[in-house]
């Protein structure tokens, strides 16, 4: 167990928040690039021809609900309810996978409709921005899966609640980034 720290904040938690702060800047640069080139697309297809708002609303809802599953997993491990911890961790990872499946479908559809990565300004900025976010979701799913395996093997319980909390912070950050991307990319077309 980690001893007391000068800030009163566990070192790993402070490190995760610092990492999240730096990630804000990474996504800030990618969002800035997307916003600068938005509306300056000279080569079709254009965003409004391809973006499927009802479909992406469903995947957005799935990702939002995965954040609820994550906090329920944290609450469960804090009270040492390992059965509930496994359930909520598994559902969080599953919802993350469903979101990734939706992104795979969307990317495939765009390529099929004649919008590969290097087709135009929209495709370049869209794929890099949402692809970077998707890579973060994939990383989160892998991380959550390792926690689930550790719980199943009896190697994670209430004494490791901080480990689950730190993974949760990362997962919620991925969620807040998508809250921004959903509005800027899909609703402010």
């Amino acid at each position: 167990m980690e001893g007391p720290t000068s800030t009163g904040i566990p070192n790993r938690k402070l490190a995760m928040w610092t990492f999240i702060g730096s990630e804000c800047m990474l996504f800030g640069t990618l969002i800035a690039t997307y916003m600068i080139y938005r509306g300056r697309n000279l080569v079709p297809p254009y965003p409004h021809d391809l973006l499927n708002i009802p479909f992406i609303t469903v995947t957005t809802f799935v990702l939002l609900m995965s954040s609820l599953m994550m906090v329920l997993a944290l609450a469960a491990v804090q009270r040492n309810d390992l059965r509930a911890t496994k359930l909520w961790l598994g559902l969080t990872a599953l919802f993350g996978l469903i979101f990734l499946g939706g992104q795979y479908y969307e990317f495939s559809h765009f390529v099929h409709e004649g919008l590969p990565l290097s087709r135009n300004l929209f495709s370049s900025t869209f794929f890099v921005l949402t692809g970077t976010h998707g890579a973060h979701v994939a990383g989160g799913v892998i991380w959550l899966s390792t926690l689930l395996v550790r719980t199943v093997n009896g190697k994670l319980d209430a004494r490791h609640a901080e480990t689950v909390e730190i993974a949760g912070l990362y997962w919620h950050f991925v969620d807040v980034v998508w809250i921004i991307l959903f509005t800027l990319i899909y609703l402010l077309v």
């Binding site: 702060g21 990630e23 800030g28 916003m35 938005r38 708002i53 609820l68 804090q78 609640a161 809250i179």
Partner: protein, 98 residues
Amino acid sequence: MSRHPAESHPSTRLYVAVAVILAALTALEVMVFYIEALAPVLIPILLVMMAAKFALVAMFFMHLKSDGPVLTAIFAWGVFIATAIVVGLMAIFGKFGA
């Protein structure tokens, strides 16, 4: 010293309430998007709802409301720099002009 997480974090009922509000705000965003009469004020409405959802997740799911000012300051600084990058570059590239 920070309090024990289980003592300071919100209850399950509050987590569910926040998730319901997030889902409702998302549905409202999409509704607003399809209402043509709101087109002139679409951008401010959507940005306010986006900021509300962002704040709800950060405050309650990421526990910034209960975890103290140091972590909030670290996150707020990152968000401030990111926002400055976006707004600054959009201004430089004339995205706010007529």
